[in-house]
């Protein structure tokens, strides 16, 4: 039997890597992927907890999260396309018209 906190720590690490990726990647798409990574980490935590607590709702949450993620993905990619069309770049650092 695998102790719960193994899972939770793993999720924490993955979440952290997601944050890391978000900060250090430059390609908008990749950045967006890192968000997905973070969400996955969260899901892992949910399932781990639900298993530990012996409650199912944790898993239900995961489903909801996945749906939300999908929605976000759709919109996000839409926005990315828009940016790519307007700016001819996917480098987030080139998109800084609004500042100060």
């Amino acid at each position: 039997m695998v102790p719960t906190n193994y899972y939770v720590v793993l999720s924490a690490i993955l979440f952290g890597l997601g944050v890391f990726a978000f900060v250090f990647k430059r390609n908008i798409i990749t950045i967006f992927m890192s968000i997905e990574l973070m969400l996955n980490a969260v899901n892992l935590a949910f399932v781990a907890f639900s298993q530990a607590l012996g409650k199912l709702d944790g898993q239900v949450f995961v489903l909801f999260v996945i749906v939300v993620a999908a929605a976000e993905a759709a919109v996000g990619l839409g926005i990315i396309i828009l940016i790519a069309r307007n700016r001819q770049t996917l480098n987030v650092e080139r998109v800084d018209l609004l500042k100060f």
Binding site: V2, F24, N27, Q59, L90
Partner: protein
């Protein structure tokens, strides 16, 4: 060590490696692929925890639908190797330190305190899947309905944003 533990470590290692490679890869398509690896690994962990329904959804929706969407977009915009700019002063060494600090602390805290979490470790009478469906359609019917609108919003938005100007 016990077999499940071994499996766990294997999958965990796989997930972490995937995540790291997502960061290290220069080309978005490679990042996407490594993300898929992560997701598969996580799906494996779900199975290990006996949440097979979730695992399935993970594979289908995430690994399938969403990541395909990503790949498609990458192709569509034929995004090349990410150029190496560092215009942001914050996201350099200081950012690194901060992020590490944050991650380190969170991980540590969780590690220390997570074993406190336990309840009655039996999954109840009915099998997870039917239980889940019960919950979704009774206890969580309201958010469930809301998600449907959420999807609508997404569709609306995607079309709205991605469509070319009429005039």
């Amino acid at each position: 060590m016990t077999p499940p533990l071994a499996v766990f470590f294997a999958l965990a290692a796989l997930a972490v490696i995937g995540a790291v490679s997502l960061i290290l890869q220069k080309h978005p398509i490679h990042s996407a692929l490594s993300l898929i690896v992560v997701m598969v690994a996580i799906a494996g962990l779900y199975l290990l925890m006996g949440a097979e329904f979730v695992a399935a959804v993970q594979i289908i929706v995430y690994g399938g639908a969403i990541m395909v969407l990503f790949v498609m977009v990458i192709m569509l915009l034929n995004a090349g190797v990410e150029e190496h700019t560092s215009l942001s002063k914050m996201a350099g060494a200081p950012g690194l330190l901060l992020v590490v600090a944050l991650v380190g602390f969170v991980a540590a805290t969780v590690a220390r305190s997570a074993e406190s979490v336990q309840g009655s470790p039996q999954m109840g009478a009915l099998s997870p899947t039917s239980g889940i469906s019960n919950m979704i359609f009774r206890d969580f019917v309201y958010p469930f309905e809301l998600t449907s609108f959420l999807i609508l919003v997404a569709i609306l938005g995607a079309t709205m944003l991605a469509q070319r100007e009429k005039n």
